[in-house]
Amino acid sequence: MTTLEVADADWTPEFGRKYMAAFQVMQRARLMENKIGALYRSGGQVVGGVYLGRGQEAFSGGLGVQLQKGKDIYAPLIRDQAGRVAFGEEELDFFRTYLGAAPGPMRGRDGNIHRGRPKEGLLAMISHLGSMVSVVAGCLLARRMAGRLGDAVGATSIGDGGTSTGAFHEALNLAAVEKLPLIVSVANNQFAYSTPNDRQFACETLVDRAKGYGVRGWSVDATDLAQCLKTFEAAVAEARAGGGPQLVEGCLLRLSGHGEHDDAAYVPDAIRHSRLGQDCLLRAEKQIVARGLASESEIEQWAARVQKEIDAVVVQVAREPRPDPYRERWEAFSVRGMVEGFAE
């Protein structure tokens, strides 16, 4: 198991630029989620539940910025808004899905965090935890078989709770057997909904599992963007170089409820006030200012600009049509003519 510490020497200008880029990804994700949270609470506009990645932006975005859309595969999970932004998912896709606008990628058929564009390498998760890991493995296997894998990787994430699923185990084991360039990031946010880690697993740290799969394990303080960046850069590089699956555990806390309906009263104050409870975005902001990469007011200006974009998108989406059941093609098959009439 590897933990990479970030020393002052690591702060090259190049690293600083990456850090700033990742920060902007995080900031945008936070603002988008804040907006959707507010719309949810004000009622009426958001369709379905809202599950946020607040506090997990450094870990999610830290992986996302290593990936290249058009080349890599990415299967984000429920708290990966930052990873999605980094991967280049359009803001429109986010708001159209949450607000149930018909032109979104899911056209009202599936919602919020389930959105994706598989043909562009952005998989659309199903709810069943653990189920996406093998799908990413399959993408990679097929590409390798077709001789067009190159140095692409596939990445997906999972929570502490999701590691208890058989699906997770089967898929990681299989990927290890096939030595696929798969990155699995485990966002250990100490809780699965209300269930604390000690009711979820009995090992000391989840990265202890890496050896049992024969894969490389990495551990990171996920509230620290610098460590996230350095670690994911190394892990993704190792996968690209043929090192097989990489298991990266990030320790952190989600700074929201499980969903916006949940007040997370089950999280003890002691944990909230521990190192785990730090807000990665604030930490990164302080770091940027301290290192003189940007000033507070510059950061505020970025935020204001993004906020304006977001507000404009929301206005646009609010005007878009909603799905129309009469125009809906009620067919689950892609091949026409496969469908049958059920006499009613």
Binding site: V47, S127, H128, S164, G166, A192, R199, E331
Partner: protein, 321 residues
């Protein structure tokens, strides 16, 4: 004191824990947190050590319940959503469903499946899986539609020495209220005539009973008396009560919220046709959800499942035959 369908489920679990030491509850987030829907609220405090949070491991959760039942316990398992029971499918159908037949060892487990659609829930938080489980031998499938049935049938399920899939409808959780709890009702395996009539019969179960009743109201305005039968359990399926109803009405529509291929409504139609062919004045009809995943957007969702409007239309069609 009024009681919702959800509260009835909580109360039944309270009662089961209170009266039978063999009962325990197992499921994700059901302890201190009280469950995703609060169906076990407060129970872990009242019954320490008997309301247990499980890891996210549906396969193992079912296995644990079966093992416990072998040792004489009567576990109630909560799936967070019915849809996630697909991960425990193998243990349910192949381990629980076969245990008694293979080894003469009873398997008194109850698996609670928060089932059915609600707006905005989408393809993986809306499923009705009664037809899937009923197809396999050895499983009892109950589908309560009322507050009383939610309460008493859950207690009956716990008492039963066979594995029960308890399909509780999420749409009824908060919407359905009773002023007070009634006395113990019919046993599992008996359907109930909810509303007598003479022009046609609607057979339904779970949330669809209420849509059917509203459709019957609508048609009453046109002078039709529609009989509504609540199946209550889809396996065993009470063919006799259905035959009695058809003897009176000669026309039958079966309504279900699950997917249209096979399933409860097909089973009902197949039985009725076989046993009551001569009583039928019109072909038995059925009405189900559409043959696609369950849509997320409420506009689509409302059109995907049967509603009072489509049931009424179908009945008009049936009455015209």
């Amino acid at each position: 004191m009024s009681l919702t369908y959800l509260e009835a489920i909580r109360e039944a679990q309270y009662e089961a824990l209170n009266t039978r030491p063999e009962v325990f509850l197992y499921g994700q987030d059901i302890g201190t947190f009280g469950g995703a829907f609060k169906a076990t609220k407060g129970l872990s405090k009242e019954f320490p050590g008997r309301v247990i949070d499980s890891p996210i491991s549906e396969d193992a959760m079912v296995g644990v319940a079966i093992g416990a039942a072998i040792e004489g316990a009567r576990p109630i398992l909560e799936m967070q959503f019915a849809d996630f029971s697909s991960v425990g499918f193998n243990q349910i159908v192949n381990q629980a469903g076969t245990l008694f037949w293979r080894t003469q060892t009873p398997c008194p487990i109850t698996i609670r499946l928060p089932s059915g659609g609600t707006p905005g829930s989408g393809p993986f938080h809306s499923q009705s899986m009664e037809s899937i489980y009923a197809h396999y031998p050895g499983l009892v499938i109950v589908t309560p539609a009322t507050v009383d049935d939610a309460y008493w049938m859950l207690l009956d399920s716990v008492d039963l020495d066979d594995p029960v899939i308890f399909c509780e409808h999420k749409f009824l959780y908060y919407h359905l209220k009773a002023d007070a709890l009634g006395g113990r009702g019919l046993p599992i395996g008996k359907a109930r005539i909810v509303r007598p009539g003479r022009h046609a019969t609607v057979v339904a179960y779970s949330a669809m009973v209420h849509e059917a009743l509203r459709a019957a109201d609508e048609l009453a305005l046109d002078g039709y008396q529609i009989e509504v039968v609540d199946l209550r359990s889809v396996k065993p399926l009470d063919t006799e009560t259905l035959l009695g109803s058809i003897a009176r009405t000669g026309r039958i529509l079966c309504v279900g919220e699950s997917f249209p291929w096979g399933g409860v409504t097909a089973e009902v139609v197949a039985r009725i046709t076989a046993e009551a062919f001569h009583l039928l004045d019109a072909p038995p009809m059925r009405l189900n959800s559409k043959d696609t995943p369950i849509p997320y957007h409420p506009n689509l969702w409302k059109a995907h499942r049967p509603t009072v409007t489509t049931i009424t239309e179908s009945l008009k069609h049936l009455l015209r035959y």
